[in-house]
Amino acid sequence: MPRTTEFPFLVDTTIPTFPDSGIKIGVVTFPGTLDDRDAARAARLAGATVVPLWHADTDLQDVDAVIIPGGFSYGDYLRAGAISRFAPMMSKIIDAANSDAKLPVLGICNGFQILTESHLLPGSMIKNDHLHFICRDQQLKVENVNTRWTGLYEQDQLITVPLKNQDGQYIADEKTLDMLEAEQRVVFRYEGDNPNGSRRDIAGISNEAGNVVGLMPHPEHAVELGFGPDHTGRDGITFFTSVIKHLLEAGK
C-alpha cells in the first residue's frame, strides 16, 4: 500500500499538552448521549482523569467535577432533558451541586437543557426561532470569568466553538433575565448573528455560586488542532483547564 507520509502536515501537530493533574472529572452517559466521548477526550487532553458515570447508577465515585454532555438523552421527543432529569445519577448530581462542597457541573447543549429541567439553572430552551437544526462555528463573548469553568479566559474574550442543536433558543421571563444580568450570571453571549433567537443573545449561564455552568455551544468540539472550527480552533480547551486549575488551587 502506498504511504501517505510524503504529504506535509496541514496543521502544527506540536500542540501543547497539559500535565496529568490527578483531578477526576465524571462524564455522564444517558442512553441517547452522543458527545460523551468528546467530553471525555477534552477533559483528558486538559489533564484530568475521566470517570464514566452511567445515568442509572447512584455512585458519583468521588469525582471532583461533572460534565453532562450533549446528545438526545432519552430521545428528547417530549422536551429536551425532560426525562433525564429524573435519572438516579441526576439526583446525586443535583444534591452535590447544591451541597456545601459545590461540585462543579458543566452542562453542554443537552446537558444545559437537563440542568434547566432540573432547576439547577433558571429558564428553559425552546425550538430555534427558524425551526431548523443548526450546526455552525459560533463566536461567543466570555462575560464572566469568575465561574469554576471560565477562570482562565479573559474578561470579554471572543472565542469560537461549534454550535449544533434544534432546541437552543434560551428563554426566561424578564424578571429572571434581569436578575441574571444583575448578578453577572450571563457567562456567554452570542457575538454577531443570534443563531436561534435566544433572549438577550444568551448562550450560557451559571448558578449563583458559579459552580454550575450551562451553555448551548460545544467547547468539547474545539480542543484539538485539525478537528475544531476551521480546522484550527482550540478555544474550548480552556473550560477544562479552568476547572482543573480551580480544583488544584482549592487543594484537590
Binding site: 430521545g75 421527543y77 429524573f86
Partner: protein, 85 residues
C-alpha cells in the same frame, strides 16, 4: 375571544416514538397506572370576531392539509372553544 382547537394524533397503526419514550419513563417516576401513551399535537387558532361556518370550514381544511400529515397522522377533532363560556 373564541378559538378553534385542532387535535392531531399519530395514526394508531403507526409507531409513535415520542409516546414510546414517555411510556418507558413513567414507571421509573412511580406512575404505574398507564398502559400506553401517545403524543400528538394541539393547535389553537384564534379568530378576530365570530367563528362562522365558513371559518370553521377553513379550519377543517387547514387541519387536513397543513396542520396534519395525512400519511402518518389523523385529525381527531376540530372544535370551537369560547373562553367566555
Amino acid at each position: 375571544m373564541p378559538r378553534i382547537v385542532v387535535d392531531v394524533m399519530p395514526k394508531p397503526e403507526i409507531l409513535d416514538p415520542q409516546g414510546k419514550a414517555i411510556v418507558g419513563s413513567l414507571p421509573r417516576l412511580g406512575f404505574t397506572a398507564f398502559a400506553g401513551v401517545r403524543q400528538g399535537k394541539r393547535f389553537e387558532l384564534s379568530v378576530d370576531g365570530e367563528v362562522t361556518e365558513e371559518i370553521l370550514a377553513q379550519a377543517r381544511e387547514a387541519a387536513a392539509t397543513l396542520l396534519s400529515n395525512p400519511v402518518i397522522e389523523d385529525v381527531v377533532a376540530v372544535t370551537v372553544v369560547d373562553d367566555a363560556e
